[in-house]
């Protein structure tokens, strides 16, 4: 995989073409100006990325596609509030999707059974950082730093970020006491920040 020119260093090469920051910013600016075709272009570029995020967190494709609709409705409504100073446009879009999923999970929380969490295990083992060739090959500070964290602790972080599990759900998934999981995560995040800054 080759890097695209001008990409910020924290964005690794990815399986699909990386939407360029400038391109996404331009599309958001056109959305803010009411250009519907820009929303369609933006959708074409980022909807598959956001849907992957949403499916992973919500575990049901139909629910994830509903959430994807919600996200793009919000993107259109809020495009004029996107401020390039706040960060990268993809991070803004991904965050919008993830926070939407977290809201939806909160409403669906009672339905999340331990068996569902357990059913996730093989998927996690095949896709967690350190276990996936793709991720190894991607580089980038986050993945480099995640690799420096011991596997059980790293798995907790990934269960939180990618799967949107709560502390208690993570504790059940990794079969460790809640207090252990919380302190692991506290320490891992401090280590991660230190590594990201180095």
């Amino acid at each position: 995989m080759s890097r695209t020119e001008g990409r910020p260093p924290t964005h690794p090469p990815a399986p699909a073409p990386e939407p360029e920051r400038a391109e996404l910013e331009a599309l958001l600016a056109r959305c803010a100006a009411g250009d519907r075709s820009a929303l369609e272009s933006l959708y074409t570029r980022v909807a598959p990325i956001l849907l992957a995020v949403l499916i992973r967190m919500l575990r049901r494709r139909d629910v994830a596609e509903d959430a994807l609709q919600d996200v793009f409705v919000s993107v259109w409504q809020r495009a004029q509030q996107f401020d390039p100073i706040r960060g990268r446009p993809l991070a803004w879009l991904v965050s919008m999707a993830r926070y939407r999923a977290i809201d939806l999970q909160r409403a669906r929380r009672p339905a999340v059974a331990l068996t569902e969490v357990s059913a996730l295990e093989p998927q996690l083992q095949s896709a967690g950082p350190g276990e996936s060739g793709d991720l190894y090959g991607m580089g980038g500070p986050l993945l480099r730093c995640l690799e420096q964290i011991a596997a059980p602790q790293r798995r907790c972080l990934v269960l939180a970020y990618e799967d949107g599990l709560t502390h208690s759900e993570i504790a059940r998934a990794v079969n460790e006491p809640l207090g252990t999981v919380k302190s692991w995560m506290r320490r891992s995040l401090t280590a991660l920040r230190r590594c990201l800054e180095s």
Partner: protein, 228 residues
Amino acid sequence: MNYENPELLDRLAAEYVLGTLRGAARRRFDRLCAQSEAARRALWRWEDDWTPLSRALTPVQPSPQVWGSVTRRLFGSEARVPGARRRRGWQLAAAAAVVAVALIVGLLVRQPSVPPQIFAVLGTDRAHPLWQLERPKTLAALTIRVVGSVQREPGKDYELWALPKGGQPVSLGLLPATGTLAHPLSEAQRAALRAADKVAVSVEPTGGSPTGSPTGPIIIVTPVPALG
């Protein structure tokens, strides 16, 4: 908690982004972000930092109908709301009969037999309704129609809230300045709306409350009928 401590702030931001900060603690951090540039920066930095992990997932092509639903929700609602003009006359006539408290007025018009129903009219002045809220029977989306002249302050948005009895306000999204918006409702929003006896409008920074709770002045509070 001492939010001046940069390490604590950074860890709270990290847990917010991871999603492990939930409930009251998540709302507290939301409120903190509304006030603190340092908190916002910590949040944005973690959002940026973690994005590569989202990019690492294999993208999934959405079903073809998803895009159609997005455009229908955003741009196609005019055609789906026949008879709105007739009901608007109803609502204006009814509005004139309502006594406002201070600058606050709201009214309910229930027409259960005619979908979509208008279930609230929002205005800061009883002679000048600004938005009317309609909903299709399924409660899948809340249709918000601008019926007055909405003055937009620079840097501000109007945000709609469901006020569940005895609960925290739940955002129902931003109110449009023009036209009609079919705002899709999440399960949480539907639940909040079903439990709500009032809706409110607050003035928020552009993009809506960064905290998940109203942060600006509440300019309208309007009772709404119970939703089935």
